[in-house]
Assembly symmetry: C2
Homo-oligomer: 358 residues x 2
């Protein structure tokens, strides 16, 4: 791949989806050097077009050879699509940033949150810039993982994390645009005294919490919980990290929240933890209980608090000592799962690749 002066040919697979839509808007906002946009969507979206930098682009469907001219391919579709097309894209010489779960745990594929382990991009680009195939694939983690590791990283660097217990509060947007619509429509129906059957979620999501994201495994954990545990270990480079996750879907429209309980090996001062979090790139501390300041997804238009929804940051607050264990810490972490949790993180991987190519 040559880095052409006007920019790169960028494919977005899943361009009309929840993450794809965010991806296009963030590519534009961040002035990602795009010379040509090639949006792909499923057959269902045939005939649909997307808007990018004021121009309409008709969505294409994936076909043999469709990545021939592509420099960067962002995959934000299903696991099935990634399984079928990611290797082909990488084989054609594109840098692939894949947000599916397919390659995340493969030992030869970097699983990256640039602020946490972006050095993996640097070394891969240095050594493999001329290669094609798997060495051009980077995986973006599960949305619930991204925001947690962003916050755990600076804590681990200074005080060594021994164990993590996390309970999530995940928005419907994590299940796609249809899921967000199901929450809205079902809620409206309920408020009007009628009822709308669930079709995306297993049960009513309106005014209800569902302790079930992904599929169940034999050990009683869901695939979402396994992702959160396994990906955190891989990204932090701690294959033996003790971690337990409970993933819950809550009736919110956007942003995932997490109640994170951390046990460190070394003693810390709470103020030092907050300072370390403040210094961490991409992390924003919102922690002034006296002023009702703590992270939230949608605090409302009148709120003096910056809500996480539509923002790039990983917000952390309610930082407090957990006296029930040695060197214990509680945190409340909120981030826009479609942005830093998915689209933004993928674009940041792309940007870091570019910085290595220049």
């Amino acid at each position: 791949m040559i880095a052409p002066s006007p920019g790169y040919r960028v494919a977005v697979v899943g361009a009309t989806g929840a993450v794809g839509t965010q991806l296009l808007s963030i590519l534009e906002q961040r002035k990602f050097p795009v010379s040509e946009l090639i949006p792909f969507a499923s057959k269902r979206s045939e005939g649909k077009s997307v808007v990018f930098c004021g121009k309409n682009y008709l969505c294409r469907t994936l076909a043999q050879g469709c990545f021939e001219e592509v420099d960067f391919a962002f995959f934000d579709a299903s696991d099935e699509i990634s399984k079928e097309w990611v290797l082909q894209a990488a084989g054609s010489g594109a840098w692939v940033i894949d947000n599916s779960a397919v390659f995340r745990m493969d030992s030869d594929i970097p699983l990256v949150v640039p602020e946490v382990n972006g050095y993996l991009i640097d070394s891969r680009c240095r050594h493999e810039a001329q290669a094609t195939g798997r060495s051009r694939i980077f995986s973006g983690p599960n949305c619930s993982t991204v925001q947690m590791v962003a916050v755990l990283k600076p804590i681990h660097d200074q005080w060594n994390i021994r164990r993590v217990v996390v309970s999530t509060y995940q928005s419907t947007s994590g299940a796609g645009t249809e899921a967000v619509r199901e929450l809205s429509d079902q809620t409206r129906a309920l408020l009007n005294g009628s009822y709308m059957s669930p079709s995306i979620f297993q049960h009513q999501i309106a005014f209800n919490c569902i302790p079930h994201i992904g599929g169940f495994r034999d050990d009683g954990y869901t695939s979402e919980e396994h992702k959160l545990m396994a990906e955190t270990r891989k990204i932090l480079g701690l294959p033996e990290l003790k971690i337990s996750a409970t993933a819950i879907r809550v009736p919110t429209l956007s942003c995932h929240a997490e109640s994170v309980n951390v046990e460190c090996e070394s003693a810390f001062e709470l103020l030092d933890v907050t300072s370390a979090l403040r210094r961490q790139d991409g992390v924003l501390v919102q922690d002034d209980p006296a002023a009702n300041l703590y992270p939230m997804g949608m605090a409302g238009p009148e709120s003096p608090i910056e809500s996480a929804s539509g923002k790039d940051g990983v917000y952390v607050g309610r930082v407090r000592r957990d006296p029930s264990v040695e060197n214990g810490l509680n945190l409340w972490v909120v981030s826009d799962n479609l942005r830093k949790g998915a689209a933004l993180n993928a674009i940041q991987i792309g940007e870091r690749i570019i910085s290595n190519l220049q």
Copy 2:
């Protein structure tokens, strides 16, 4: 107090509130032996009447001597009301079941969940049946405490609990009927593209999670979190129990949910834990992931799953081993916070007093 054959004179303080309303309906459902109902409400509710067993009762306001003829007084009003009137009611010879936080942590006042530590009622009744004053007061715990101790008790009895980490998902009903209305009205406004300012909650609750229930203390924990920790220790009789709580308000109409991580001293078989939970009075196990069966507050009218809302039970599911710690366990606990979390529990205390008087 003499136990009159037609029943007892029962006062309900806060009869028009969220818990008071449930209390009246449960008194009726369970055929609590009421010869005369005396509902009290705030001056704001002056002129309001309540319906009990098909009869209308005009609400009274609290006044000197108002408890003179009362056998049982259920307090479901504010801490301020309980502070002012509970001692007077008990001094008049009534058995008082107080659901406020005022007396819960007093060493001479039993804090009771009958299925867990109902023996405290028995011994108090045996020794103090003729007494008046403080010895006639029983406290009902915070709603988030009741459902957790109901589930922890049988586990502790067999395997000794060493540490608990809990994150809550608390419904708006815990903040009263006005709070439930705020969620409904604000949600409706948002879905119609307009906005309604919060007045009960600190921030928008529609489609938002607020990590703030009660007031903040110097250690960064809220009063709700402190209640959950301190009351659990008192009820389980484990003053040194290691416990850490994070209390979150979620946009649901009823039922509190809790993600509970437990560390036991002794090794257990998972099947034995489930069996112990099944045997526990008041606890219902809903745990068949393959059938999408787990506890929920409002699964929807078409769901084959019995939702906790409007029910008496404490529902537990997602029972699974936490391999990140020795003898670790994860649980998902849901219960109707207005019923077992408050009104039902209070009535069960009353029933147990009666069984001791006969």
